[in-house]
């Protein structure tokens, strides 16, 4: 059936909670209110307040308590209301969740999922628009998933919940209602750690993730009208990256455009560029091109400045054409 991105989130959580009594949700306003974005709507009624736990306003506790419960044997899904507010939980996520299996030499594990809506274009200003993945994308022990389609959301969130290691699951908040797509009603999981070709093409390769996959698809349609064919790789898991998938996609066309909504310096696509320049330098017919937000602290509120920062199909189309003509 056709559902929205946020519906897919809810479907995945509900199905997993029905399947496994060890799965529960905790976070701010996830209970009666059903989450500020309604990702947990109806779950409180269905599963009761013990399994859909409204927490105090404390992100470190959301993560830390979830970690404890996960070590015991539960499969907690912590919701951080906005990705921007994950910062107080960084210590619990990096120092604890990411290191528990390693530091205990496999004696303990921490199967926790932390979900958070990220991204801009919603008049959210500096602190309700951020992309925060790069902060965590150098912490072995963590996995970071950032799906683009409802289909991927459901399959990857289920995989994350069943994963025996901690997973950060970032959902683009502008995609929540904007993006709709076919989602099977039955049970399926998708592999964490594998990128996905969202469009086959011959002339240029675009690598991106999240909402930009859709913007890039739109731009690719435009280029197709002019006979330029775009190969589009959706990273899906941004940490650890799917090196093989990236290398293959880069080699396919020899011209690579990397896109992120995040600030440019030190972003996910920096590592993608590094991988390509390490493993397939001689396959390249053009310098690796990076299209990203400007290096300013975060997306401003006023519409002209927000638009200036935010990625969109036009900016992508322009970059694609530039690269194609190189």
């Amino acid at each position: 059936m056709i559902v929205s991105y946020i519906e897919a989130v809810k479907m995945a959580i509900r199905e997993e909670m029905e399947r496994d009594p060890k799965v529960f949700v905790l976070g701010e306003d996830v209970g009666k209110k059903g989450g500020v974005f309604k990702a947990t709507e109806g779950l409180y009624e269905q599963f009761g307040e013990q399994r859909v736990l409204d927490t105090p306003l404390t992100e470190s506790a959301i993560a830390g308590v979830a970690i404890g419960a996960a070590m015991y044997g539960f499969r907690p899904i912590g919701e951080i209301q906005f990705a921007d507010f994950i910062m107080p939980a960084v210590n619990q996520i990096i120092s604890e969740a990411a290191r528990i299996r390693y530091r205990s030499n496999n004696d303990w594990q921490c199967p926790v999922v932390i979900r958070a809506p990220y991204g801009g274009g919603v008049h959210g200003g500096l602190y309700h628009s951020q992309s925060v993945e790069a902060i965590f994308a150098n912490q072995p022990g963590l996995k970071i998933v950032m799906p683009s389609t409802p289909y991927d959301v459901k399959g990857l969130l289920k995989a994350a919940i069943r994963d025996d290691d901690p997973v950060l699951f970032f959902e683009h908040k502008k995609a929540y209602r904007l993006i709709k797509g076919e989602v099977p009603t039955d049970d399926y999981v998708l592999p964490i750690g594998k990128a996905d070709v969202k469009r086959e093409g011959e002339d240029i390769t675009v690598i991106t993730y999240g909402l930009n996959v859709h913007f890039a698809l739109q731009a690719a349609e435009k280029l197709a009208e002019d006979g330029i064919s775009v190969h589009l790789l959706d990273l899906r898991t941004v940490y650890p990256l799917d090196q093989e998938g990236i290398i293959e996609a880069a080699q396919k066309t020899g011209k690579v455009l990397l896109i992120t909504e995040d600030n440019k310096e030190g972003s996910i696509i920096s590592e993608v560029a590094a991988i390509i320049s390490e493993y397939c330098l001689y396959d390249l017919d053009a310098p690796i091109m990076r299209l990203a937000g400007p290096d300013v602290p975060a997306m401003p509120f006023a519409p002209p400045m927000e638009k200036y920062f935010m990625m969109n199909p036009e900016k992508i189309e322009k970059a694609m054409r530039e690269l194609a003509e190189y």
């Binding site: 927490t55 306003l57 107080p88 290096d295 401003p300 519409p303 400045m305």
Partner: protein
């Protein structure tokens, strides 16, 4: 009829000024909702119901030298500290001239250095530590200003609250921490938020005074904040104040509180509207009559209209202004 304000050393004029500020706060806030509902501004977050605590506190401070670190509902505090209605409207429209952030932040992220209103962010509670830093500066420089910081009761459960109170307690710093307890953190009620049920009681654990005050009673808030400020200036350290208030509106324009809050509760709360209570008091003691009330009302309406018009017409920042002021230029 007892003239409580005189006992507190407040003149009739000052009390009227407090009333005017409170009315301006309310009216401006109401206008923001109208603008939001008519699609002119994308977001409102509102202090309606909490103005008694805000105005009472701000007037108890020395607004020529104290620093305030307000949170997003503190429209009353910042107006009392010198921010104008135009400034507020400029921010809500995201216009270039907005003194809070030049259109960079969402509305109600108050900041204005000339009025010693310290810039705040969205992640709650961080400002408590900044306030402690300002208070540390006062102590190091042997100056007698105080820093005044506010937050919600939900936010008081963040780690930074604990670290701030402890730090201020250890060094006996001149900081006043006022929690505006409106009994909700978005949808989460006090019972699921705050073990023990009282924020003020937590002060004891840090060896500092903790005071609970009726936030609807502007004079009572004035009294306890004044006492706290005096103590701070005398070098006797921090005070934690818990002002019991109500949130008349939904959490913000993005929220619908009917899902989690009984209408009756809101109606009951409105019976203790701090604005009405003050108006009644002013009339009872003969400072305000019908004529004066109307006069003030008209004045406030003019201010709100002017601010709205001005901000609506004001230019947006340029797109490339997004690049400005990352580092010193």
């Amino acid at each position: 009829m007892e003239h409580r304000h005189e006992k507190l050393g407040l003149s009739d004029e000052t009390l009227l000024e407090m009333y005017e500020k409170m009315l301006l706060t309310r009216r401006l806030d109401e206008r923001l909702w109208l603008l939001n509902r008519s699609g002119k501004i994308p977001f409102v977050i509102s202090g309606q119901g909490q103005e008694g605590a805000q105005i009472g506190a701000a007037f108890a401070l020395d607004r020529t030298k104290d620093y305030c670190l307000p949170y997003y509902r503190d429209l009353g505090v910042v107006l009392a500290f010198g921010m104008t209605a135009r400034d507020v409207m400029l921010a809500s429209f995201g216009k270039a001239e907005d003194p809070n952030s030049g259109g960079k932040q969402m509305p109600n992220h108050f900041s204005q250095r000339k009025n010693r209103i310290v810039t705040g962010s969205s992640p709650v509670t961080t400002q408590v530590l900044h306030a402690v830093g300002f208070a540390l500066a006062a102590k190091m420089e042997k100056k007698d200003f105080v820093s005044f910081v506010t937050l919600g009761e939900g936010s008081s459960n963040q780690g930074d609250f604990h670290e701030g109170l402890n730090f201020a307690g250890v060094h006996q710093l001149p900081v006043i921490i006022m929690v505006e307890n409106n009994k909700y953190a978005i949808s989460v009620p006090l019972s699921k938020q705050l073990a023990g049920g009282s924020v003020a009681k937590r002060a004891e654990g840090y060896g500092i005074p903790g005071v609970t005050v009726d936030g609807n009673d502007v004079l009572e808030v004035y009294r306890v904040v004044k006492e706290a400020a005096d103590r701070a200036r005398r070098g006797e350290g921090p005070t934690l104040i818990e002002a019991m208030t109500n949130r008349f509106t939904a959490h913000s324009s993005d929220d619908d509180d009917r899902a989690y809050r009984d209408r009756k509760e809101v109606e009951d709360a409105k019976k203790k509207d701090p604005l009405l209570l003050l108006e009644t008091y002013l009339k009872d003691v003969g400072i305000l009559d019908e004529k004066k009330t109307e006069e003030i009302s008209k004045k406030i309406t003019d201010i709100v209209n002017d601010a709205t018009d001005y901000a609506e017409k004001a230019p947006y920042p340029k797109p490339e202004d997004a690049l400005k002021y990352v580092y010193k230029e």
